[in-house]
Symmetry: C2
Subunit: 229 residues, 2 copies
DNA sequence: CGACAGCTTGATATCACTCAAGTTCCGTGG
DNA sequence: CCACGGAACTTGAGTGATATCAAGCTGTCG
């Protein structure tokens, strides 16, 4: 897993990066820029933007395993065999690991939360149809990135392309677009612009997400919730 | 579908269980018997049989998140919101936790391995088609449960129903059966009986699994031996 | 204003699901 | 030992959801 040292040139190779000075080391990534495993040596947390951890097959198929919003730390384990990719221009902060017991526990919590989220995602990919996946996705993103709107509504700037949503949900971009359109037609979600979503009433969307998931998907935000019934 | 209830006398209620009084606590589960979260209080490891950790939606859709073969320990985190279910009659051993730092590390390793496997599974469900999923599955099971056969082949007793394979791979039972038949017709896999598979040459199957996965899927195996690769 | 990237929409194809028989396997009882 | 019955498995036909291919549209930024 994460080894300690960083050299000075970190974050240099990808195109538009600005070179971080000293104290709080930062890495800038432009849209679609990636870091492979070899290019990271520390824990990273997202300051700004949206980061995807993804696997790409030789033929180009991509699966996004995990999305990290600002404030979240990228799980170094889930990213060992994968790419870290900015879905929108992003700023990352390098977290210095102290080699005491303390960071072990931090690593465990990261891993723990990630596993719970991964399990929810497995259910999504294995057993939900397209419409359900989209509903679950929007609800999840509203909780993580949305601003409250009216009574139980949410405004969300979706900082990723249809393409990326598709690769996260195991669909393709056209299907995502069609499903969005369907929600738009029914006025469950409004689209002032393609990346600006207004959900007037989140509970309408939540009603379209099978219940186990509606709870399970929150595992990485709160602690655990109710037992397995 | 019996749900086993456990009280003080752990391991009593499920059908055929033998009740150990003291030392190595064991739990027997008949086929399809389940333990909910409330019925477990410790780490469990599989002695015999095959255990699935699964989530079930209100409408009955089931996703198997994880399979545990003999010798493996069931990850308590991945099973917090889920059922533990025996796919074939199984024997579990209760592992007593000592509340020292040592078990923290054990928990971390369990979680770590599980997360790596979950990520591989996400790729499988999100981006592989039916034929690829089945190939990846058989290869994985051969490594974990198979006996070497000839030059680079493997014999596998598959201790689970088509149904269960389907719920693990996000398919349905008929599709699994059809895909098995296709492999049978091409003599890539032989079926002396429906649950007995002979893979004369594992590399033929491996060639049908996109390469990233062929490596990633082994993450959770550390320390177990399997047929060669 | 023009060009490009991203988005939407339509037509068609394909893969996997559903429903419905059959068939095989296996345990049980005559 | 064979007949029976149920569960699991296989197979086929038809359907539906999602992917693919192909335009066209929109919005953003020089």
């Amino acid at each position: 897993m994460a080894t300690a040292t960083l050299d000075q040139n970190e974050g240099q190779s990808p195109g538009t990066s600005a070179s971080p000075r000293q104290a709080p080391r930062e890495i800038m990534l432009g849209r679609s820029e990636r870091l492979g495993y070899a290019e990271r040596h520390s824990l990273l947390s997202v300051v700004e933007g949206l980061i995807a951890v993804s696997t790409v097959l030789p033929d180009g198929r991509r699966q996004i395993l995990c999305l990290n919003a600002p404030g979240e730390t990228i799980c170094p384990i889930c990213s060992a065999d994968c790419w870290i990719e900015a879905l929108t221009p992003s700023r990352l902060r390098v977290i210095q690991l102290d080699h005491d017991g303390g960071s072990n526990e931090a690593m465990f919590h990261l891993t723990h939360d990630r596993l719970i989220a991964a399990n929810a995602h497995l259910l999504t990919l294995g057993r939900l149809d397209g419409a359900e996946r989209i509903a679950a996705f929007i609800v999840d993103m509203c909780r993580r990135l949305g601003q409250p709107f009216g009574q139980g509504g949410s405004v969300l700037h979706l900082p990723m392309a249809r393409d990326d949503v598709a690769d996260y949900l195991g669909l393709n971009a056209e299907t995502v677009s069609r499903l969005f359109s369907k929600l738009k037609k029914r006025k469950i979600v409004l689209f002032p612009t393609p990346t600006e979503l207004i959900v007037p009433d989140l509970s309408v969307l939540e009603a379209r997400v099978p219940s186990t998931l509606a709870n399970g998907a929150r595992g990485h935000l709160n602690g655990r919730n109710g037992g397995g019934s």
